[in-house]
Amino acid sequence: MRFVLSEDQQMLRDTAMAFARDELPVSHLRGLRDAGANGVDTENRNKLAELGFFGVLIPEEYGGVDMGMVAMGQIMEAQGRTIAATPLLQTAVLGASLIGLGGSEALKGEWLPKLAAGEVTTALALDEGTHHAPLNVATEAERNGQGFTLNGAKRYVSDGHHADAFIVAARSFGEAGQSHGVTLFLVPSDASGLTVQALNTVDSHGAAHLSLEDVNVSEANVIGAVDAGWDVLDAALDRGRIALAAEMLGSAQAAFEMTLEYLQTRKQFGQLIGSFQALQHRAAKMFTALEMTRSCVAAALSAADEQANNLPELASLAKAQASELIHLVSNETVQFHGGIGMTDAHDSGLYMKRARVQEALLGGASFHRDRYARLNGF
């Protein structure tokens, strides 16, 4: 396990941090919100593509830079700092992983170069209920002459309102709750029978509900084997969870720094409020939680690159710890700022809103504690 960045990784981190600071500050998200853009930001998507960020997990033969998850984690942490709305989690992590791990040569050859170039974005359409439950896939995939017909509905698909293609998990065999019988399909967003209902979400990033009515997909667009999409899905989900945990770490770190600065400038009773022990101890506990989560995220990123056996365990650890951390820090950020923290004009509320979405996506603390316990045999 490697906890120290290589020179290349450090350079990428520096670039990503500078980009988030200069091009994607929180004020930018605020601007998108106020303009009603619902998290859609074509201009910055193109800039992210120019930086090569979409190709970090894509092999060089398909136009990527193949730098691995530790590198991807640095970019995610950077965008987390400013709670930026980008298609990176869905496209560069989940899309690239699902197609890269399970796609046929033809699919990879057709799609990965477009993903790497930022020409096409993807979104994983998985959950059907209000809580992350990846095995509970009920959307039907029925064989027809040339391929499959999909019928069903997907809830809260991140980036679903602007993705160019969906990776839809559907059931070709068995019942909801079983891993066997899940098949993954690559479905262009303009496919006939696919309806996208854009959602206005609390974090201003947006999302979409999907409904699929007799959507025809050819056999060539199956990712992984028919009925056996679960292994590809599970592996890609873990990468997504780890990348999202890295993003959450960045958000928590930035909110904490904002709070620390306030503690060192705001005066009450003729004192800097940071001199009050009741606040000092809570700040120190937040710092401890931050440092411990940082270790989990770093270990999970490194384990993903090493394809370690305990990767699922570390993915759940990172996502659960990051979930607890982000609520602790974002809630305390509002409380430490007092009245100003309750105003829309202040950034602390934006972090707290985004925190709820970050936790819910790809499984919250409760989901991952349960998974961790199962992986540990109890």
Binding site: M1, R2, F3, V4, L260, L263, Q264, G270, Q271, L272, G274, S275, F276, Q277, Q280, H281, A283, A284, K285, F287, T288, E291, M292, T293, R294, S295, C296, A298, A299, L317, A320, Q321, S366, R369, D370, Y372, A373, R374, N376, G377, F378
Partner: protein, 404 residues
């Protein structure tokens, strides 16, 4: 040479492996028993005779303190070699030959602050386990506010004269020598403290064990009445003891958080989820039947894992030469929380089986766990309370100011 060539390191590994094979007695390759832990010193009973042989052989090589300088009896190994030694010992499950406050706390501080004569006098006997050291820090009126200590040390020309009382002195009743903080100037606080070492057999030194809620007595009250100490046993400059004290506390906190806590970490006690499986049972899906307890067990296990990874990360960052911002204080705080949580969960999972004190009505490991749970309450007090550690994080790491 900073780094060994791989082939040299391989040769060293072969040498270590052969030596251990020839010199580590068979019984020293079995799991440590609580009553066979060797602390060394004049009173060491060596309950298992093999442990004496093992300590002597390791002490002779200096491998009880692998990275200390060879000129003072240490192993003189570089980091890479020390790691090889550690790996080879772990490979054959060799017991640590010596547990010692001299190795963990006093020795590192003396190597940094002592003069050549003091190092030559004290370090070799720490390495060989011939002297057992205890720590004279806390006083009845100086716990968290350690710098408020009052034990008086007067300059009597040809000797120092000590009067006062220490408390929470770990194993003072079994120690040969003490390293102690004493007051040499009453007009200032931190700058009036000196660091002194002396023999516990000196006239005027008295120790009384303190019985804890767990029933054990690892700590003592220690009284000094007109204790005469030779002048050359002052470490560092007069009134400059606080710097050494703080440095030594870092060693102490590191060694505590590296797993040196009293509590339910000892041998024979299972992880909490194992007791829950036994005493609460499992449901049909293979989950611990009490869902609430199961959730808290998972949360604790994850916290423990996060802690372990943080220890690994801080070691890796230190090796890479990166600044480690007072990680010792973070780890001490987290380790205390983790150990106490674990102890609570074990007793909870044991149910009434965790409520025994002594006698045949309860399993041995359950009784040990119960006492370990009580002992663990000290984890957030000893070596700097959790509150003091949070103060240190807030002020030194986060840069928050003192209240005016």
């Amino acid at each position: 040479m900073a780094f060994d060539a791989p082939e040299e390191l391989d040769a060293f590994r072969t040498e270590v492996r052969d030596w251990l094979e020839a010199n580590c007695p068979a019984s020293m390759r079995t799991p440590m028993k609580d009553d066979e832990v060797v602390w060394g010193g004049r009173r060491e009973p060596f309950k298992n005779p093999d442990s004496k042989v093992w300590l002597e052989r390791m002490g002779e090589k200096g491998w009880t303190a692998p990275q200390w300088p060879a000129e003072y009896g240490g192993g003189g190994l570089n980091k890479a070699q020390a790691k090889v030694l550690q790996e080879e010992m772990r490979r054959i499950k060799a017991r640590p030959p010596l547990f010692s406050f001299g190795l963990w706390m006093f020795g590192p501080a003396l190597l940094e602050f002592g003069n050549d004569e003091q190092k030559a006098r004290f370090i070799p006997d720490i390495v060989k386990g011939k002297t057992r050291w205890c720590q004279g820090y806390s006083e009845p009126g100086a716990g968290s506010d350690l710098a408020g200590l009052q034990t008086k040390c007067e300059d009597k020309g040809d000797h120092w004269l000590i009067n006062g009382q220490k408390v929470w002195t770990s194993y003072a009743d079994q120690a040969d020598w003490i390293f102690s903080l004493v007051r040499t100037d009453t007009s200032v606080k931190h700058d009036g403290i000196s660091f002194l070492v002396f023999d516990m057999d000196t006239e005027g030194v008295e120790t009384r064990p303190i019985k804890l809620i767990s029933g054990s007595s690892p700590f003592c009250e220690t009284f000094f009445t007109d204790v005469k100490v030779p002048k050359d046993q002052l470490v560092g400059q007069l009134n400059a003891g606080w710097t050494i004290a703080k440095r030594l506390l870092q060693f102490e906190r590191s060694s505590i958080s590296a797993g040196g806590f009293g509590g339910t970490g000892g041998s024979g006690i299972l992880p909490p989820q194992e007791y829950a499986k036994q005493h609460v049972g499992m449901d049909e899906a293979g989950r611990i039947a009490d869902g609430d307890l199961r959730g808290r067990l998972a949360e604790h296990l994850m916290f423990s894992k996060a802690f372990g990874l943080t220890v690994q990360r801080s070691t890796a960052e230190a090796k890479a030469g990166q600044e480690v911002g007072h990680t010792a204080s973070i780890l001490k705080y987290a380790a205390a929380k983790m150990n106490q949580e674990k102890s609570e969960l074990i007793v909870e999972a044991l149910g009434t089986e965790g409520l025994g004190w002594q006698g045949d009505g309860f399993a041995d490991d359950a009784k040990k766990a119960t006492r370990g749970w009580l002992r663990s309450k000290g984890n957030s007090i000893e070596g700097g309370t959790s509150e003091v550690n949070l103060n240190v994080i807030a002020k030194r790491v986060l840069g928050l100011r003192e209240h005016q």
